[in-house]
Symmetry: C2
Subunit: 369 residues, 2 copies
């Protein structure tokens, strides 16, 4: 693995869209007792279900601690690759590398700086040193060269690419005080374009209400094709989500992408009934630094936008809500050639994210390093 100090754009590399062909996907076995309730036993079953569904059409690599290796290996099917790797939690989207690809089909990783969603400013746990090493370790596992961008704090969940020059992100996250407060918006935009090989950044103002990642874009809006997005939505003007989604819709309706296209926006209604922590669920979480990580009644950032696009399937979170089926229908329309796989997601959302947050796609490569 070469550590590269050039930029992907200068080298002719850019980030493919998630709906482009994958070699595979990276996941991380859940383990933290302050993130995953009751010792993570329910979460790991949910992760196994997701890993199995993904591995039907691409190579799934599960990273796991030494302590959990045997259990993970036994619970996962043979076609899933299980590899030991120290991490601080299970958010592969944010700690595994973002991958870029060139015209010849060579794939390389990007090692962004990681500080647990805000570092000492408003981050979610301390320390995060193991997580910050995951990207390079994954590049070595996959035998890919790696761009060094550790001086820039970014999580994979805070960006989306259409693979044709357009990147989408949220102001609430990328301009937050815990990421890169020394940089201007223009400088951040330039950094994204240089590293993702993009021409244009669409800035959505907000994400999902109470999303502790400072509102990652991957929970509010996603590309389903070039020029097409889905947006988390509610018609209930009294819901705090309404103004946030409306602000995003206003941007999307007035923006064009890097190719000059107007965007087609489909709405993905959030659960009708807010998804909130129960007292029993809170009792199943260890304290962190002497404090509870969740409170009873706390509203979780439940959104159907946090799906994962595998080669032949789209895995969609389900919350036992009347809106569950609507989400499957809308995404079925977006992805007519892929199987739409509903995934019960309560045991994942309790951890603070969803299916997209715990997965990171690896583009198909045409060149062996």
């Amino acid at each position: 693995m070469k550590i590269l100090s050039t930029t992907p754009k200068a080298d002719g590399f850019s980030m493919p869209a998630e709906f482009s062909p994958h070699y595979g996907c990276i996941m991380i076995w859940p383990e933290r007792h302050d993130s995953w309730q009751n010792g993570a036993y329910a979460a790991r079953k949910a992760f196994v279900r997701i890993a199995k569904a993904i591995s039907h059409s691409e190579k799934l690599t599960m990273l796991v601690s030494a302590a959990q290796y045997e259990t993970a290996r036994a619970m996962l099917p043979p076609e899933v690759r299980v590899i030991e790797c120290s991490t601080d939690d299970a958010w592969a989207r944010d700690t595994a590398p973002t991958f870029v690809k060139n015209a010849e089909g060579e794939v390389r990783g990007i090692d962004w700086g990681f500080n647990a969603w805000g570092g000492l400013h408003d981050g979610l746990y301390f320390p995060w040193d193991n997580d910050n090493h995951v990207a390079r370790k994954v590049c070595d596992i996959l035998d890919k060269d790696c761009y060094n961008c550790r001086d820039f704090i970014l999580e994979g969940g805070s960006i989306h690419s259409d693979g044709e020059g357009t990147v989408m992100t949220t102001e609430s996250c990328l301009l937050s005080g815990g990421r890169n407060p020394h940089m201007t918006k223009a400088e951040i935009e330039e950094k994204l374009c240089q590293y993702l090989g993009a021409e244009k950044v669409i800035w959505l103002p907000k994400g999902i209400y109470n999303d502790e990642t400072n509102e990652h874009v991957d929970n509010i809006c996603a590309f389903t094709a070039a020029g097409e997005v889905v947006l988390a939505w509610t018609d209930n003007e009294n819901d705090p989500q309404y103004a946030m989604s409306k602000a995003c819709l206003d941007v999307l309706q007035n923006e064009t992408d890097a190719k000059g296209r107007k965007l087609r926006v489909r709405l993905l209604y959030i659960p009708e009934k807010p998804v909130c922590m129960t007292e029993e669920e809170c009792e199943g979480l260890d304290l962190m630094d002497g404090e509870p990580t969740r409170d009873a009644g706390e509203r979780l950032a439940a959104s159907y936008v946090n799906f994962y696009i595998a080669n032949k399937a789209v895995l969609v979170p389900q919350f036992g809500d009347v809106r569950d089926k609507d989400a499957l229908d809308v995404l079925g329309e977006c992805f007519p050639d892929r199987e739409i796989v509903p995934i019960p997601a309560r045991d994942i959302i309790i951890g603070g994210g969803n299916i997209h947050c715990i997965t990171q796609q690896v583009p198909e490569s045409m060149i062996d390093n």
Copy 2:
């Protein structure tokens, strides 16, 4: 990674000779302070030198603990792949899988039972659970299926294959009380033939004097081609090695291999001056279980036979002895198409083995799993 309960022989797989084409080689970063003197700082330099020499002609994968990952990554060149893996020590020959291959060029691993060279009977350290998991982890890293042979205790250093149906081992090791004492010699021979896809086992009676592995074959005798071996030797009848090597020579001169060939035996003279621990070296080793692991004056099992055959090089241990050059010359004659690379080996032999013990070749594969 499928765990296979069949045998390689039944499936048409056998162990290629070390001099056959490799995909690459597995090594493990040295770390134990009771194995490697002065915190392993000298040993790691020796390991880096070996990794670099091997990686000139094949892919070198270095397994390393989480704690040492950054240091190993920084000390090793980019072409070496560094992957996190928990181990109990650095003997890849004995803990990484033995690989077998079929006629179509598919490669699979074998997961032997490992008990630190004799378990509670006369093993060298406790516990050894991490080491015992290395073989499967490596198969997963390389995406190879894996034969389950955990009920049979074997280290890779205790076997050699000519790739044409002949396996060579030592009675002192394979019949030792700490390996498989419940099995007869005939049963052990049958096990070797089933798992290594062999027809014949040549049993050498002994190994190298004071070799704490119960005298692994890879320190006393090695195939350099089908029908050709090198044997560690001394003319000094007063040296305890003399009778041991003479007993092996008697067997080799009276044996034929699986193809019915007489063996050509070349002699590799052991160092003229015994390689012994100094008091200063002993002071650089931590105690294990309250006891010193080495004593001042202790003779180490130094042998030039413990070389590694890479695709385009042969790495030969050197001890600063008058016999160093003889070893290079003999091996130069054996491997005219490979570069003969002398490796200063004192910092490795102190750990209890040598270049062959810390490497495990992975045969070239023609089929992706």
